[in-house]
């Protein structure tokens, strides 16, 4: 079992003929993901990576019955691609693209209010993977293994780091979700934790947050109301200075909001173990 993505999920890749789209569509197919097509305006009717290419998402959905999409288009076109996916009938949209202007993401979020069933992951994220089954995005399959640990994270490489450590110590994962490092995002920690809570195959949870915003605190509030998951949280950026943007546009402390301390305290208050280094996560989870 898993959340959001399983072997029956029919997936398209927006931007499938691009360099990134081609490479990662290949990786997704190799793992067994049901990639049923892709889009690339002007290249409809051709075949790429063994799947049909369509001009528009709506066309792809009509022809393939796809319900999920991975977006690998360049930043100037990515916000529009998300909205096209929603309007075209996709219900799980995973946007990998980094560097979308924030005002465009704000408009996208408003647009998606008209599509209450649509779930957006990202942008600026590594996507999600249900180990051994399927993935949408760029998380390398070989660092993962199937099992009961849910993993949700804002960061790409830290996700990989923790997934490898879990895999190496024999703790497999139900689903790994990278929600992304931008300030205005699709699914939040709280949304993903809620999904894991309902997935009976998930018994443990790792939350990897970072400085900035208050999404971690919201997830902690949810966990504080009672959870069946054994949870460990880790926050990166505890030594980052105020007002400096640390790579992720979202990772910035302003005033006393968004500090690692406030996030760690929120998790501790919820009875969640807080790891001080990523090396401690596996031990605390056992």
């Amino acid at each position: 079992m898993s959340i959001l993505l399983d072997s029956s999920t029919r997936v398209i890749v927006q931007g499938i003929t691009g360099r990134e789209g081609t490479f990662h569509a290949g990786q997704m197919i190799e793992m067994g993901t049901q990639v049923v097509g892709g889009t690339s305006p002007g290249k409809g009717g051709t075949t790429h990576m063994g799947v049909p290419v369509f001009n528009t998402v709506a066309e792809a959905v009509r022809a393939t019955g796809a319900t999920a999409s991975g977006i690998f288009v360049p930043p100037p076109f990515a916000a529009d691609a998300i909205m096209e996916a929603a309007a075209g009938g996709i219900s799980l949209i995973v946007c990998i693209t980094e560097g979308i202007p924030i005002q465009e993401m704000i408009r996208v979020k408003d647009y998606l209010r008209g599509f209450p069933a649509v779930r957006l992951i990202g942008a600026n994220c590594p996507g999600l993977i249900t180990p051994g089954v399927a993935k949408i995005g760029i998380i390398p399959q070989r660092i993962t293994s199937p099992g009961p640990v849910g993993l949700v994270s804002r960061s790409g490489t830290l996700t990989y780091e923790v997934a490898s450590a879990l895999t190496a110590s024999g703790m497999g994962q139900s689903t790994i979700v990278g929600i992304g490092g931008d300030p205005v995002l699709g699914l939040t920690f709280k949304d993903v934790v809620e999904l894991f809570e309902k997935d009976m195959a998930t018994t443990h949870l790792v939350v990897i947050g970072e400085i900035g915003g208050s999404d971690e605190e919201r997830a902690a509030e949810l966990l504080a109301r009672g959870s069946r998951l054994k949870t460990v949280a880790f926050i990166s950026g505890r030594t980052a200075p105020e007002g400096k943007r640390m790579g992720h546009a979202g990772a910035i402390i302003s005033g006393n909001r968004g500090t690692a301390k406030s996030k760690e305290e929120a998790f501790q208050k919820a009875g969640v173990a807080v790891a001080e280094t990523t090396d401690q996560i596996v031990g605390l989870l056992r």
């Binding site: 930043p75 408003d110 780091e161 915003g213 990166s236 505890r238 030594t239 790579g247 280094t277």
Partner: protein, 380 residues
């Protein structure tokens, strides 16, 4: 990009918002001339940080001679790490009232938030803490912007109903900075109501979105080169690296923002202080590693370098070979500790060892090692 006050005012003026008469002065003579032309002026340091008034960066003067002296004092001054490149001499206003007006991105609401308060001229964060009810707020629809009646309500909520008309018109102009310039933060504090009833921007802050810089190249051309900025950050930007200067003496290279940030944390936990944040992104190609090392080694404070790389797809032996050649090309003699994982990590570690680079088994162990190695003064 964070604009300086005079730059932000130029932008506000182009949006139709009234600003006081002012002149940029790069020398004391220019400041004296500005005062001769404008009469009594405020001589204001131009730096992209708040609190310049408290730091002595604003002086009110009545004569060209006073303006000359004030500018001589302020130009070149250090305010919160920024060397003042120039001053802005602005005609003094006959102030009747001061209002706060601003917008920023409200992350929790996933929208922009407009804020208006009758308590202008004060630190708005302090106002927000002490009397949050005095700040009226509005989340405009991001597709169509604020409507007149919404702004009218906002003005009345802020206790500024008597100014509702001029404020509504002015806020609509300010809001244009969002769709037209990809502004993420703007602040007019104070927005001054003068004794003859004019509403005019007393100060201005404006920050635009780096992610949208590609469609506002004109802003970069007009305003980009005034500030000297941190020399390492400038060089890193040229080389296409994500780099932030910090106060410590241990250079850091990591791939991925989260991993890199957590590496800074580990170094501090081990008793050291990072000299920088440097994210080389996925791949860890030899050329990128060499660029990162080159920038870090420019900083004479750096006593050693810690590199923390997770190789998702990259092979450890390739990363190791690239790193050895980068170090040799740069003739680097400082201690270098590398923690890497991923495919072929064992081969990678062997290559590092053979070339005198310390491989750390875990990130935490590597952090402790570099702190230990940099405690004694190292030869350069």
């Amino acid at each position: 990009m964070k604009l300086l006050e005079y730059q932000a005012k130029e932008v506000l003026s182009s949006l139709g918002i009234p600003i006081p008469a002012g002149r940029v002065a790069r020398t004391p003579d220019e400041a004296a001339n500005a005062c001769a032309e404008l009469g009594p002026v405020a001589v204001k340091a131009q730096v992209p940080v708040g609190g310049r008034g408290k730091a002595g960066g604003i002086k009110l003067v009545n004569s060209p001679e006073e303006a000359r002296q004030a500018a001589a004092q302020i130009i070149g001054m250090d305010i919160k790490g920024f060397k003042v490149p120039l001053v802005y001499c602005e005609a003094a206003l006959q102030i009747e009232r001061e209002v706060y007006l601003g917008f920023t991105v409200d992350r929790d609401a996933r929208n922009n938030i407009l804020m208006l308060s009758a308590k202008g001229g004060m630190d708005i964060e302090q106002v927000a803490e002490e009397s949050p009810e005095t700040i009226a707020r509005l989340h405009p629809n991001p597709w169509r912007g604020p409507l007149d009646f919404e702004l009218n309500q906002l003005a009345f909520e802020a206790g500024l109903g008597d100014l509702a008309r001029p404020l509504t018109s002015l806020i609509k102009k300010l809001y244009r900075a969002i769709p037209e310039l990809d502004a993420v933060t703007a602040e007019i504090n104070p927005l001054v109501v003068t004794k003859n009833g004019e509403v005019i921007a007393g100060d201005a802050k404006l920050e635009t979105d780096e992610n949208a810089a590609w469609r506002h190249k004109d802003l970069e051309v007009r305003f980009g080169s005034v500030l000297e900025g941190d020399p390492y950050e400038v060089e890193a930007k040229k080389r296409g690296l994500t780099y932030v200067s910090l106060d410590g003496d241990i250079g850091i290279i990591g791939n991925g923002a989260g991993l890199c940030m957590s590496t800074l944390d580990l170094v501090q936990r081990a008793g050291g202080m990072a000299a920088n944040f440097c994210d080389i992104g996925g791949g860890a190609k030899a050329e990128v590693v060499e660029n990162a090392l080159a920038v870090i080694l420019m900083n004479p404070r750096v006593k050693g370098v810690l590199m923390n790389v997770f190789g998702g797809i990259t092979r450890g032996d390739e990363v190791a070979r690239g790193l050895v050649s980068a170090r040799d090309n740069l003739k680097m003699k400082l201690p270098l500790v590398v923690r890497m994982s991923g495919t072929n990590e064992e081969e990678g570690r062997q290559i590092l060892k053979q070339n005198g680079i310390e491989p750390g088994a875990s990130a935490w162990e590597a952090a402790q090692k570099i702190v230990e190695l940099t405690k004694v003064p190292a030869p350069r």
